[in-house]
């Protein structure tokens, strides 16, 4: 008994390496960024203040870029959900063989390099790309559409690239739902839609929220996709941070922009987590 208790009391030590790793490579740089954001001047000569934050909020362009970025995430995440949910639902209903094929297709974006993927999309969405060639050939439009360097293009690519982050949690949750529940609903006289909206959808809410959090945070911070597909005429927060930190060497301002961006995203995530807590409490106690 005593030995067991001792062993138990030492188990926390297993978490030490990870804790140290986090402290060194996540918490420390984060604190550093927060610290730098309070530097009053670009040269970081020591004076502290909220100058950088005031500078950010003082220019409406910055605030617009922030809302644009947060909205971009909403659009791409919604699209991921709309396309991803049926895919995940289908996954739970097909043979094991088809399941492996589906899962392969779903995780394909993860295993491809982000730059390769993005350049492939540039080719596909371009003025003379596959999509536009098809649209023009079919006579749907006389002119090639502006897909590249447009928000629509960024949303399309983000949806493809971040899809796994939505689909995988959804699959996990949908697979956990007892198939008898849908049968029971049906036997009680409910049609397919009622069964979906009253049973399947509410029960898959934890997966929707988990997928939404993952997808959303990935979409709003997708620097490569945003800048390469969007070009310079669409400015989002990650590019703005990069511009300030790298092009202009204005680290204090870049740090302040980062902190503001991080807090905005955290607030949204916190909201979603609160939602899921309420849901999960009801479902699983």
């Amino acid at each position: 008994m005593a030995a067991a208790a001792t062993e138990k009391s030492r188990e926390w030590q297993l978490a030490l390496p990870l804790t140290a790793f986090f402290a060194l490579f996540f918490v420390a740089p984060l604190l550093l960024v927060i610290g730098i954001s309070f530097q009053a001047t670009r040269r970081m000569t020591g004076g502290l203040g909220l100058n950088q934050y005031a500078a950010f909020l003082g220019d409406s362009l910055n605030v617009e870029v922030l809302t644009d970025t947060l909205l971009l995430g909403v659009k791409a995440t919604l699209l991921c959900l709309i396309f991803g949910y049926p895919l995940a639902w289908l996954f739970t209903r097909v043979s094991a063989k088809l399941q492996s094929l589906l899962i392969f297709l779903v995780i394909l974006p993860i295993v491809t390099s982000v730059v390769v993927r993005t350049f492939a999309w540039i080719v596909i969405l371009g003025r003379h790309g596959m999509v536009n060639d098809t649209i023009v050939a079919l006579g749907l439009s006389a002119q090639p559409l502006h897909l590249l360097f447009s928000e629509a293009g960024v949303v399309i690519v983000l949806t493809q690239v971040q899809m796994p982050l939505m689909v995988l949690p959804l699959i996990t949750v949908l697979q956990r739902i007892d198939p008898n529940l849908a049968s029971a609903s049906s036997a009680l006289g409910a049609g397919a839609w009622r069964t979906f909206f009253k049973i399947t959808l509410p029960l898959s809410m934890p997966g929707i929220i988990a997928g939404t959090i993952l997808t959303y945070t990935a979409c709003v911070t997708a620097f490569v996709t945003q800048s390469l597909i969007g070009g310079s005429r669409l400015l989002y927060m990650p590019m703005m941070i990069f511009q300030q930190a790298m092009d202009l060497q204005n680290w204090p301002f870049a740090a302040a922009v980062s902190v503001i961006f991080m807090i905005s995203v955290l607030l949204i995530v916190a909201l979603l987590v609160a939602l899921s807590r309420g849901r999960a409490a009801r479902l699983y106690g």
Partner: protein, 365 residues
């Protein structure tokens, strides 16, 4: 309680295949209004397939399901008004007990007031009135089952299907619930099909039992008939305990058969289509045979004696080594029937449960 009584259910030439596997083979079942029929068999016998076909979750490869003589085979489950209680109850975990019970009525678009009244009535019937605001996970297994039953009955189904309803309950609760369900079923007169692999459960609760094996309907009959007069060797061994004793047809008439076992000939009142001299299997229940120290019958050696409540169970060996179980009242048993002693097994030819073709006769028996 409901006006759901009095619907007849029939399965006509139902065949169902999953790929090459035949899950149901030309099943014909005629269930009378108000009857409680059990589908009994080991796992993989096709009983769950039949239940799903009745509920509409599966469409049979061939054949029809009829309610009151009208085919419903092509009607989707949500239009069949056939209620089902699942083995795991399948209560909606995110809804309260009351919402669960009212679900079918809400789906049917009933007014709120009517739903509330019916929910109250149903919860009263299953004695769960105090639990309307609870969530399913806050209930015990038995309580969940009552709710599942109430939810199902609330839509006043024409047929009630119960899928292994007692298997998840512990033993004490199981008997209570069996009595309860039997009472509710009697009271409402609702035609009920119960799927089970538990022969005791089937024997105690059913009006009739359909014994299934490998997709084939072996026998459909009242419990006493299934037990006393099993039509096939499978039914004989699956339902109750059977002693199978190898013999030879010694003599036969239209209605009777004489079976020679060792040196003795037992005159039974069952017919056989086997010819005189053919090997045969004689089946007799443990409670239908008697052990005696007095000469007469088949000589046996007692291997073990086990007192079980009011009864005594004997494990004995025939001369050829065939094991036989004997159950008799402790009061009626001689005290000198002890383990490792010799005795005689008396078989009453009028109380045997069946005569079957011996599929695998021991040479020289």
């Amino acid at each position: 309680m409901t006006d759901a009584s009095g619907h007849a259910l029939a399965l006509e030439h139902i065949t169902h295949r999953f790929g090459d596997m035949v899950a149901a083979s030309n099943i014909n079942l005629d269930i009378k209004p108000g009857e409680l029929v059990s589908l009994l068999g080991p796992s993989g016998c096709g009983k769950t397939t039949l239940l799903k076909i009745i509920a509409g979750f599966l469409r049979p490869t061939e054949g029809d399901v009829l309610v009151d003589g009208a085919a419903i085979t092509h009607i989707p489950p949500n239009r069949r008004r056939i209620g089902i209680v699942f083995q795991n109850y399948a209560l909606f975990p995110h809804m309260t007990v009351a919402d669960n019970v009212g679900y079918g009525l809400a789906a049917a678009g009933r007014p709120k007031g009517e739903i509330a009244a019916t929910v109250k009535e149903m919860l009263d019937v299953v004695q769960m009135s105090a639990f309307g605001d609870r969530l399913p996970r806050q209930l015990s297994g038995g309580q969940q089952q009552r709710v599942a039953l109430a939810r199902c009955l609330a839509i006043r189904p024409r047929i009630l299907l119960l899928d292994e309803p007692f298997s998840a309950l512990d033993k004490n609760l199981r008997l209570d619930m069996q009595i309860e369900i039997k009472r509710l079923q009697r009271q409402s007169g609702i035609t009920t099909v119960l799927v089970t692999h538990d022969q005791e459960e089937a024997l105690s609760i059913s009006d009739r039992i359909a014994v299934l094996s490998r997709g084939i309907l072996e026998q459909l009959a009242a419990p006493s008939e299934i037990y006393d007069r099993p039509r096939t060797l499978f039914v004989n061994t699956f339902v109750g305990t059977a002693n199978l004793i190898e013999g030879i047809v010694a003599a036969k008439t239209k209605s009777d058969t004489g079976v020679r076992i060792g040196d003795a000939v037992i005159d039974t009142n069952l017919p056989t289509y086997l010819a005189v001299g053919d090997p045969i299997l004689l089946s007799v229940r443990p409670e239908s045979v008697r052990l005696s120290k007095a000469a007469g019958g088949l000589p046996v050696r007692i291997r073990a004696v086990m007192p079980i409540g009011p009864s005594q169970i004997y494990d004995v060996l025939l001369a050829d080594g065939t094991p036989v179980k004997v159950v008799q009242d402790r009061a009626a048993s001689a005290p000198d029937l002890t383990a490792d002693s010799d005795a005689f097994l008396v078989i009453d030819g009028r109380r045997i449960s069946g005569l079957f073709t011996n599929p695998d006769p021991t040479p020289g028996a």
